[in-house]
Subunit: 325 residues, 2 copies
DNA sequence: ATAATCTAAACAAATTTTTGACAATGTCAA
DNA sequence: TTGACATTGTCAAAAATTTGTTTAGATTAT
């Protein structure tokens, strides 16, 4: 280590303590009791602090101010200290304002994206779970999950990311969405909708997001997973007496087959049953399908209004039926 | 040897309570009265909270704020807590008989199967999570999950069950397996294995089971999901310096393509890297592939012995390398 | 000489732990 | 409804530990 004959500037303890806003006594105590820093020494045994040492003291001071005890953080590396402090924004005004801090979705987004790039499943899971705790469901979907998936897709198309990254991220995101979906409780008599992905479409996240949003707005969604042929979708609709079908499409490798599936589905279902198609690939659907009694969802937001309209039209029909038996 | 480099950051109760917006008194009370968390201890008996502990406290706080009593939620897993948050008190479950010993896997099996047949997601989830609580992991896999999947497949072939039933069950089972997988903790320096499903194979459950068993026996599994091309699998192996690849195969629609994929994968990987193939469809692999340095897993039990042999052969090689530089 | 630094020890304040108690609230049977 | 009983959050006390500060005496830098 001593190979580096440093021309680095070294400072006395008074200056180091001043920079870190600590007393010299405390700096010495941290060193003696916790080996918090390892300053060099002069021949006469005086401590000499490098710029790195000072940074470390500043980080320790910040961590302690954030509520940590010195014994817990003294042995962390400077990098870990940085992360510790950055991940928990410092409560400058009073330490109890911690609970009232507005959680920035972007913060979760950045952490999550970094974790995906580094194949760090554990950290990705941590970021998403934290976000799920601190954000509302709509915020979580619209500000974190959707942008994250979009960003991953974009990076993949630009070649800055391998398929493996997306494959690592998918189960984690899916798990979070599934947990959220299962946590939403809706009354038994709520209108039902079957959510799935058409034959040969395997990306589930969009469908899960649809199921979640739909459930959030009072519908009872039956999530049927991916790659479901039209006749099975129709069977599920019939079996559960659902009023609508939600499909998610990402990439349409085979436009023709997709069109056929939707056409078949439309044929199986009664005319009242709405077919909603969302997802990134929804816009690429050929016109033939569009005309076929299918509603395209521009985004998840539009889903809500479509659902509302559906409910209205359904209740109108029921009223008509009632008043004219 | 448990050479776990416990690099985990640990925090004092003050900080943990601050993060969860609880008083230190209450945190201690929850632990004493309900075993809500299990913090580590210092030599001087002070509590040490990990990031997971803190997350758990946050979830518990949220659940209590949502109206649940601490005694009801204290023993739930983090996944279950997430589900509980924002949700109303659980509705009527088809209950398991608490009088008989709940260690009977068949009881869980029957309830689960009935739930699948009736498309009752909620009850299926209940049965599986209860089973996950009361059974050991190997028992859960071998006596419940595997038989359940097998039974579903059999009923489907006999036409007594529609694809939709299987599609309803899959996300639930997958979620349970995923939660179990994520809850297992393995040392950082454990040997690694990449688990996935080959190109055009979309059934994840087998792969998840493999990942779970593998992790159970001390390996560090990177779960990469389904439908992964050979070059991406190889990239993951290289990136994580894994010593083995685990693949799960259910139905082989296209034997030729599967053989090609495995052949390509064998080519990408160095000779030392083992390729393990399991799943219901593993037996149908054509001989050409078998000869190609691929290990077939007759059942999940055989997986363990294969893994052990792998470790032995690896350590032998390392010894040889050392003694003969 | 004066100010700064060093080590070591002591001190006071803060924090933590355990035990136990208390009131408010919920539960459940009579 | 009432009353017994359990649950829950809060608090207190006492002992132990941690932490920040202070003191004391010796040494060093300017």
């Amino acid at each position: 280590m001593k190979t580096e004959m440093s021309k680095k500037k070294l400072y006395a303890i008074k200056y180091a303590a001043l920079r870190a806003d600590l007393s010299t006594h405390l700096v010495r105590a941290w060193e003696k009791r916790h080996q918090a820093v390892f300053p060099a020494r002069t021949e006469s045994n005086r401590r000499l602090y490098s710029e790195e040492d000072i940074l470390r003291l500043q980080l320790l001071k910040k961590a302690v101010d954030a509520g940590h005890s010195i014994s817990m953080v003294a042995k962390l590396s400077s990098g870990e200290l940085m992360r510790l402090i950055n991940s928990q924004p410092p409560a400058d005004h009073g330490r109890l304002s911690y609970t009232t801090k507005p959680d920035e979705p972007t913060e979760f987004f950045n952490l999550a994206l970094k974790s995906v790039l580094q194949l760090d499943v554990k950290r990705l899971e941590y970021a998403l779970t934290q976000a799920a705790v601190h954000l509302t469901k709509p915020m979580l979907i619209s500000k974190l999950i959707v942008p994250l998936c979009a960003k991953i897709g974009e990076l993949w198309r630009r070649g800055e990311l391998k398929i493996i990254n997306e494959h690592i991220a998918t189960p984690v995101i899916r798990s979070v969405l599934w947990n959220l979906l299962r946590s939403a409780d809706v009354p038994r008599e709520a209108p039902r909708i079957v959510v799935a992905t058409p034959l040969n479409h395997h990306h589930e996240l969009g469908a899960l997001a649809i199921a979640l949003i739909v459930r959030e707005s009072g519908w009872r969604s039956l999530y049927c997973g991916s790659n479901l042929p039209a006749n099975e979708i129709a069977a599920a609709v019939k079996r559960t007496k659902s009023r609508a079908v939600g499909l998610s499409i990402t990439f349409s490798l085979n436009h023709q087959q997709l069109a056929e599936e939707i056409h078949k589905l439309r044929g199986y279902l009664c005319k009242d049953t709405a077919i909603l198609i969302g997802g990134q690939g929804a816009a690429t659907i050929i016109d033939d399908v569009k005309a076929n009694g299918v509603q395209l969802l521009k985004d998840l937001k539009s889903l809500n209004s479509v659902l509302d309209n559906l409910l209205i039209s359904v209740s109108k029909k029921e009223t008509r039926k009632k008043s004219n038996p």
